[in-house]
Amino acid sequence: MNETVDAGPMASVRLELRATAVSIAVGRAVLRRVVTFRDPDAESSFLIAFTEIMTNAVDEHVRLASDRPIVVEIEQTPHDLVRVNDSGAGMSDESLVTSAPDGSVERGRGLALARAFVDDIAFESSPSGTIVSLPLAGFGIIR
């Protein structure tokens, strides 16, 4: 039993992406290829949650003018999940609890949508970045 210092179990796919809108579409394209979704509605639902989380990561890197990549990991162990890692300043407690605005306010619905579609979404946030885990259970399986 040789404990390795680095990496741990290899991600099925690890993506390092620049903070741009195209990167979000790239992430979706990879997920469509790597995950077999239960049905088209499960696919759209999961990919919308992923889109919102990626959008927030991109926004945060742009806000800080960070040139570090956003890292997306698609992992099979112990459960299939997608993880989005950014190097931002972390999320405030407030942003973690606020619900969607209604009516004519243009912004602020991202996290509410992500939560509505992926119940078991998990956030780990610190001043050096945020890791959001999106479990695939119920949506599909990694090929």
Partner: protein, 115 residues
């Protein structure tokens, strides 16, 4: 452009009486932040005389919060010209997006059988 790109396809059709023209914007594919610019541009080309605009989202595969922002802007613009907006959704995820976004009333959301 390959199928894998799955770009947004937008089509606009107008109809109705000369005195009360209506328009329909049909959105197909990924309606996300990357495509919102094109939707906004298309919306700007709508004739000012319209009395009603319908946005048909039934064939979208993605509707994100940036798309919702775009629809809210469209409603605001149309309102100024006294034009009404209705948004048509059908698939479960599309209905959820509108409900969670709190926009059922504001965007006059309908399913195809309610049109």
């Amino acid at each position: 452009m390959s199928a894998a790109g799955e770009p947004l396809r937008l089509s606009v059709s107008t109809s109705g009486d000369i005195g009360s023209p209506v328009a329909e914007i049909h959105v197909v594919g990924e309606f996300d932040r990357l495509q919102v610019v094109r939707f906004d541009e298309t919306a700007r080309t709508l004739p000012a005389a319209l009395v009603s605009v319908t946005v048909d989202l039934t064939q979208t595969t993605i509707i994100d919060s940036a798309a919702l922002g775009s629809l809210i802007r469209l409603r605001r613009t149309l309102e100024r010209h006294g034009c009404s907006l209705q948004v048509v959704v059908e698939r479960p995820f599309q209905i959820t997006v509108m409900k969670v976004g709190g926009l059922d009333d504001h965007l006059n959301v309908r399913t195809p059988d309610q049109r």
